[in-house]
């Protein structure tokens, strides 16, 4: 059983602040983390290795610093880590990203055939949930998105059965491997790294692949050149004109505060008042 897990290094968006005066992002000190959604994908791949044996290869496309994120996944138990990094990849949108990753995963498959490719549901910086479907399409893999559970795998028949979150219910799907699975969040709980894995992760080399090593055939399809979309403008959301109106009463009881809130609600929000009237 050979799984390839796609991970991305992202800025911890929970810690991003916008400068109150200049309205620019304050990136200083914002730590880079493994995209949290990708850890569910990694854990699922590790569980399959626990059950069936085999290997888990982790791959990421990004700047050289992204090696830190890959090392983190080694410490959690991944066997190999590959960083696809080249100046030519800069500015890639999801289409160009999936092109590059698909090429690199094909290269990985030449060494050891790949049974499953895993991605997270989405990234917290790109947030598009497109890279997974894109890779599947390019590699002609069966696509299984929003998987909440891998029900069974039959390695002899090369079949996989999964539960997939759909609108209004759960689909149970059976398909052929190789397939691409995007894992739903909270579908498993990430393990803690073991001491031997942590020690190994510190020494083990993370393989770097440039565009040639990654098997990129058509350089017009990667990076900015291969991206149909560009960001034409970045701006801060117009902030609410003011902070909340605070309901406070000196020495007031909770009941006084509640009464004061209801009064102000009725004055400022007739729409809410109407809604309440429907319920009386």
């Amino acid at each position: 059983m050979h799984s390839v897990v796609c991970i991305k290094q992202v800025p911890d968006s929970a810690q991003i602040r916008v400068h109150p005066v200049t309205n620019t992002i304050m990136r200083q000190g914002v730590p880079a983390i493994v995209n949290p959604y990708d850890l569910f994908a990694l854990e699922e791949a590790l569980r399959l290795r626990d059950r069936f044996g085999g290997r888990v290869t982790v791959i990421s496309m990004g700047p050289p610093q992204a090696e830190v994120a890959l090392r983190k996944t080694l410490s959690l138990g991944a066997d190999d880590a590959i960083l696809v990094t080249d100046k030519a990849f800069a500015g890639a949108d999801t289409l160009a990203t999936s092109y590059a990753l698909a090429a690199a995963i094909r290269q990985i498959g030449k060494e050891l055939p790949v049974d499953l490719v895993f991605t997270g549901k989405q990234t917290i910086d790109g947030d598009t949930a497109q890279v997974g479907p894109g890779i599947a399409r390019r590699m002609h893999l069966q696509l299984l998105t929003y998987v909440s559970r891998i029900v069974e795998i039959d390695l002899d028949r090369r079949e996989i059965v999964v539960e997939r979150r759909a609108e209004g219910g759960v689909q149970v799907l059976r398909t052929r491997m190789p397939a691409l699975v995007t894992m739903l969040e909270d579908s498993n709980r990430m393990r803690f790294g073991s001491l031997p894995d942590m020690l190994r992760a510190a020494r083990q080399a993370v393989t770097h692949w440039d565009k040639t090593a990654a098997g990129i055939e058509d350089v017009t399809r990667i990076g900015l050149k291969g991206s149909p979309t560009i960001v034409s403008k970045v701006f801060t959301p117009t902030p609410r004109s003011q902070r909340a109106e605070m309901i406070a009463i000196e020495d007031g009881s909770a009941a006084d505060l509640a009464a004061a809130l209801l009064a102000r609600l009725a004055e400022r929000f007739p729409g809410v008042e109407k809604e309440l009237a429907k319920r009386s």
């Binding site: 800069a90 289409l95 999936s98 598009t128 390019r138 209004g168 034409s232 309440l276 009386s280």
Partner: protein, 372 residues
């Protein structure tokens, strides 16, 4: 998407190849489940109508449905009719026995076929589990741009291109994305982000039927089962008019009952932040935020919720937000309309009491015939 920190310096004018200039019209993918058109498709028709009018082109709905034995097409035609009433000028209708329950392979094939044949300049889909799965595959197959989770769509009058605005960096910033020399321009929008348009009963349009050359034997993935969510237990959060939500500040699971009590008096749905869902205080269907539901109620009462950006993006569309938090510096007070600094376990029961009294008083004043 490119690194948002390096936006293009000056506006790039998009010059289209002649081949791409032939792409005309705005399309909305009409999603349906169990005989009902998904509300997000109606919201998109409202938005699509504005784009089509700005461009001076037609708005089309795309309906895919199972071909029923015996040729009963009423259901599929009903979806088209709904699309017309919500603004579509025409509908492309594809019916096949492989287009029953959603599967990526036949739907991707059907939609790419349709796009290649009729060449729309804009294609919009709901950012549902279906829409996202389909949009990503179709965009890759067509080798075109796709912008996910847009919050605003507009037309650039200079070059007719679609300007798709979406949150980035977890909602702290917005960015506007344009598609270069590629067509169609694709975008997804989450449910409840756009306003629901008013239907025009009786409005009609044309139906263009298109066939799909695909057999069940061609499709690798099989649906073994569909386990429907139990509707009765499933909160209709995205469409609730009043929501009472609780967070980690409630301290312990028992205290979450105070949120339910207030919700009950208000006839409201119950919402929650992610940590309390993860702690198992309440089911995941109640989670509001980036990885939960987007809601747009008239009133949102948040108790013991700090207002982290991932929560905020899911609820800031509420008309009125009331926050109860013991910390006067809590970020939620930066965007709530009303704030009460205090212990939620004390304030919530007082609010429940006050609303109960108010509603009872109103009921007493309401003339009988109005309640009938």
């Amino acid at each position: 998407m490119s690194e948002p920190s390096q936006p293009a310096k000056k506006k790039r004018k998009v010059v289209l190849d002649e081949r791409l200039q032939a792409y005309r019209g705005v399309w909305v993918f009409i999603e349906h489940e169990r005989g009902r058109v998904h509300p997000v498709s109606l919201e998109l028709l409202g938005e699509g109508r504005k784009l089509a009018d700005a461009l001076g082109v037609e708005l089309a709905g795309v309906v895919m449905a199972e071909a029923k034995l015996g040729g009963d097409e009423r259901e599929a035609r009903h979806y088209c009719q709904v699309a017309f009433e919500y603004g579509a000028d025409l509908c492309y209708l594809m019916q096949s026995d492989v287009l029953g329950e959603y599967r990526n392979e036949p739907y991707t094939r059907a939609l790419t076929d349709l796009v290649n044949t009729y060449q729309p300049e804009i294609l919009l889909l709901g950012a549902t589990t279906l829409g996202r799965d389909l949009a990503g595959s179709v965009a890759t197959t067509l080798n075109t741009g796709l912008t996910a989770d847009c919050t605003e769509l507009a037309i650039d009058p200079d070059d007719r291109s679609l300007l798709s605005t979406r949150p980035t960096f977890g909602g702290s910033l917005l960015c506007t994305i344009v598609t270069l020399n590629y067509r169609p321009q694709m975008a997804t929008v989450r449910p409840r982000v756009m306003a629901m348009p008013e239907p025009q009963p009786g409005r009609t349009g044309r139906i263009v039927e298109h066939g799909l050359l695909m057999n069940e034997a061609d499709i690798v993935t099989k649906v073994l089962d569909f386990i429907a969510d139990d509707r009765r237990d499933q909160p209709q959060l995205p469409f609730a008019d009043i929501i009472v939500a609780g967070g980690r500040g409630l301290g312990k699971p028992e205290n979450f009952q105070l949120v339910r009590d207030l919700a009950k008096v208000l006839g409201a749905e119950v919402g929650a932040s992610r940590p309390v869902v993860q702690a198992g205080w309440i089911g995941a269907e109640h989670q509001v935020g980036q990885s939960g539901k987007t809601v747009r109620p008239k009133l949102y009462i948040a108790a013991g919720i700090s207002g982290a950006i991932q929560h905020r993006v899911g609820m800031e569309g509420a008309d009125c937000i009331v926050a109860i938090n013991s910390d006067p510096e809590a970020p939620i007070f930066d965007f709530a309309h009303f704030g009460i600094v205090g212990d939620a376990t004390v304030i919530l029961p007082a609010l429940t009491e006050a609303f109960w009294m108010k509603l009872k008083r109103q009921a007493a004043l309401t003339p009988q015939e109005e309640t009938a």
